[in-house]
Amino acid sequence: MFKIKKLLLLFFIVLAVKTFSQNKQLLYGFAELPQTLLLNPGAETNYKFHVGLPLLSGFSAEFGATGFTVSDLFTVDNRSINDKVSAVLNKLTTKDNIKLNTQIEILNAGFRLNDKNYVSFGFYQEIDAILYIPKDPLSLIIEGNSKYLNKNFDVSQVLFKADALGVLHLGITRQVSDRFTFGARFKIYSSALNIESTNNSGTFTTVNGADNIYAHYLDNLDVNLRTSGVVANDEYIDNPKTYLGNTFLGSNSGIGIDVGFTLHLSDQLEFTGSIVDLGFMNHKKNIKNYSIKGSYTFDGIEFGYNPDNSINYWSDLENDFTEKVPNGENQDSYISWRPTKLNTSIKYSFGQKRSKRCYDNSYKDFYRNALGVQLYSVFRPLVSQLALTGFFEKSFSEKLQAKFTYTIDDYSFYNIGAALSAQIGKINFYGMIDNIAQFSDIASANSISLQLGINIIFN
């Protein structure tokens, strides 16, 4: 029961060391951490300047899968792997997906420009990928069409997007009044890799035919695959250094912004909101796109039995198919949109009131407890993904704070998370873990994430 498999361990170590999570419900608005500014540039800060430890200021990973878990496939029991895969495939829907988001902060720093304005900047690398389960195409590949007469195999279910990029950012947080803080962040994206296939359409159907036993229909097929940064001079790029190098001001670049605010509705009630990654990337170098489009009906090869006119039926078939369902490659530039995220929260603070020292040697009151609700949404190719989080924050002291969350999203209905932020001298350390309820059996969890970071904060 409590045996930790080496492979799983390795997997999570790799994710933990290389990455930074996406739905950061624990981090959002927590403990005035510098990293909260990346989720809401309008978050309040209370220090003169900060520097994140390079490569260690923020790393985490989020892996999620709806409709199935690792244990559904790999638990040791008496069932064959084929039966398990079939069972999983049978219960999956076309909205089920697998996602991975990782980030690693290379640099994160900030300084107070004056009493009103705090400037923060940095550079991080991100991998973001989502694959919707193409149930029909998978069935066609795994089972074939024989069992599925009259079934429309829907090609539009082929839907995935993967990005690897670097993000250079500069933001400013302005305290407009005692009650209202607003912030914005400008981002320059540099894509190392983009692979996406979206907005596909078409069906494949086999039916009982009229002229022959069966007829096969390919209706309104329109499938595309766009890639950038993967192929150069007709050869796959297999040097990791090339990918890493392209994350910093490479040729496939784009821009984006984050905006956010914090509004104190009363002494105890705080309302926040942000839009993150409202932007795009223009892919124009090392492009390789593929497409196929058209409709076709095939009911076999019709013999003519004309001895005076021999026909190359197969060649005619190929030519006819190519004419009606043309396919090709191109190197056309294209734009890909970043998965824009929306965050909003309302927080009610209560309990014992205490004071903490601010950067300007003044004192600011804070409550030891807070309850609130957060809503998170990310725009994905098929539908937006939503997450609703209830949270409780506890300040044990000015330097030690904790946050507990309960999140409902596409991946789990009982995701309990915990975060801790501690400051020892000028060193701030924070750690966060999601899905604690599944900790006794991670393989049965639909999503998992871990975040750790170290900052140096100067009050």
């Binding site: 084929n82 076999g300 005076d308 197969w314 020892i424 750790l452």
Partner: protein, 178 residues
């Protein structure tokens, strides 16, 4: 130093405190798929005039042939298990006809010849099924052509003006194991 220790401790806590049920990822090596693809093959409808040449002489047999490149891909060839060949025939002719179906390779060598289909006169619901196991007929994998020959063994001349038809339909079910 303190930070390093604290980081290491927390990281170890997360990793060690987390558990998984007994998993075996090597099961994936046993995973195989066995799809079955049904594909239409050749079909035709012929009438008596097609048994006569330009000089008006009746031919004892007529045949046609097509390339079939479905097994040309080495991957498909290697994973092929067996083939189910199905035929449906409607014979309105007033005579028995014999159908010879052969699979051929690029050099016109026979890779597989089906049993002759003897279709009686006016049989409107003739069916034929044959399974080809690749393990016992490995030559089938080199098939690149399909030939269908129709033999008229009747001693009675065919009426070229008759409005009868001979309808032939075929399909193949391909069994693959990956």
């Amino acid at each position: 130093m303190v930070i390093k220790k604290l980081s290491a401790m927390l990281f170890c806590f997360f990793v060690i405190a987390s558990c998984v049920n007994n998993l075996d990822f090597s099961q994936i090596e046993e995973y195989s798929i066995s799809p079955e693809y049904t594909v239409s093959l050749t079909y035709f409808t012929i009438s008596p005039p097609q048994f006569f040449n330009q000089g008006g002489l009746q031919l004892p047999e007529i045949s046609d042939i097509t390339d079939f490149r479905g097994l040309e891909n080495s991957y498909a060839r290697d994973k092929l298990l067996k083939l189910d060949f199905n035929v449906e025939i409607k014979n309105e002719f007033d005579r028995d006809l014999t159908i010879q179906i052969s699979f051929l390779d690029d050099n016109m060598n026979v890779t597989h010849r089906f049993n002759d289909l003897k279709v009686n006169a006016n049989n409107l619901n003739y069916t034929f099924d044959e399974t080809i196991e690749v393990s016992t007929n490995p030559n089938i994998k080199t098939t690149t052509k399909i030939k269908v020959l129709i033999l008229d063994n009747s001693a009675v001349p065919l009426d070229a003006s008759a409005k009868t038809e001979f309808e032939f339909k075929s399909s193949i079910k391909i069994y693959v194991n990956v």
